[in-house]
């Protein structure tokens, strides 16, 4: 998998948030996006993941040197971020089964159970998400993002709301992802910055 960001610019009305962002990631790679609050880290993550269109510039994904059409890119992406919410009236299992079916056409029960166990949620999967704490919700988001082993994993504020054990889990996820695929992290935490090989500062 190859990700190319070329001359990305973003304006909200007259306010310019991002100016000429360029980078290229291929194969096993990791990138950290840093910048002060309001600098545009989340905006860049949203543009790279296809949730937001850039004002100018281009984001391209290639698989085996073939460009992936924009409407198909979502199949290769996993994202964990504070703005991605799940259905709070449904249980964790119902949410995960829905997203598993939506992304892959079926539900691999063993995979979901294994991920729930890894993230310390086994036994709580039949509870509605509205009864979950913010840390538990963050863990469910990881289960959802990792379910179909995405080739590109975006993590926006990856350890927010997590306790120390949760943070260690996230660091393991990042290490495993960057061994074979691409991981992009938006953060200002020194420990998380050290996880990535490349860095883009949007300040």
């Amino acid at each position: 998998m190859k990700l190319v960001a070329r001359d990305i610019e973003k304006k909200f009305n007259r306010r310019r948030v991002l100016t000429r962002i360029n980078f290229e990631l291929e194969g096993a790679a990791s990138l950290v996006i840093t910048g002060i609050n309001g600098a545009g880290k989340t905006t860049l993550i949203k543009i790279l993941s296809g949730l937001l269109s850039p004002t100018s510039g281009e984001v391209s994904y290639y698989l085996d040197n073939t460009a992936i059409p924009r409407e198909q890119v979502y199949r290769h992406i996993g994202l964990v971020g504070p703005y991605l919410q799940l259905y709070r009236d449904l249980t964790a299992w119902e949410n995960l089964a829905f997203f598993a079916k939506a992304r892959t056409g079926g539900v691999d029960r063993q995979r979901i159970l294994a991920l729930l166990e890894r993230f310390g949620l086994k036994g709580r999967q039949m509870d509605p998400l509205k009864s979950y704490s913010s840390g538990m919700l963050q863990r469910v988001k990881y289960v959802m993002a990792l379910y179909d082993q995405p080739r590109v994993l975006f993590l926006d504020e990856p350890t927010s709301n997590l306790d120390e054990a949760g943070k260690q889990l996230v660091y393991e996820v990042v290490q495993a992802q960057k061994r074979d695929h691409i991981v992009i992290i938006a953060t200002n935490e020194p420990e998380e910055i050290r996880l990535a090989e490349k860095r883009v500062d949007v300040a």
Partner: protein
Amino acid sequence: MPRSVWMLLKQSAIVFQKDLHLEFRTRYALNAIAMFAIITLTAVGFSIGPTRLSAVVQAPLLWIVLYFSAISGLSHVFIREEEQQTADTLRLALEPNAIYIGKWFFNVVLLFGLEIIIIPLFFIMMNARAESLEIFFPVVIIGSLGLVSVASFIAAIISLASTRGALFAVLAFPIALPILIAAIHGTRLAFEGAPFSDCLNDLKSLFSFTVIIITVSLLLFEFVWRK
């Protein structure tokens, strides 16, 4: 059937099942539509008393109730996704058209389900009678499909705006007007017991407009859905 179409329909079914499941758990849109329809029908029913209104008045009354019921409930499928911040999650899970088709089907089922209650209640409260059922059913079915198509597409557009309620009514009415005009005329003919051939133009108008709205929605939805 080409594989891409099959995949699209399969994904649409997943969205439809999820929305149905969520609706049965929360009854958000169901309650909004049912309460509006019942209160309106009761208020009008009591105000006219035992008087039997003419077909010229009954037909628009029926479609006013159906139109405002649709307006009050059918926008929730998209607005709820934005309000609960699940829209971005959905954007990362499915193709845009699969989301639109799934939600369109959900709205169709919701409105038809409620019409099973609203229409008999209308006949009871208004002391009305459809003399020509072979006109009444096609007009109500195609007219409702048209209303759902307009409401679903406008809901997708306004869900991204901050002044949703006012925008929805303002945008939906002019687009739904051709449907309402044809549906009201067709329903009047059904109440008057006109022969089926008299309503062919209304049915053609309803059908054509509904197909146009659905086609335009499918062509434009991706641009609306992707910010």
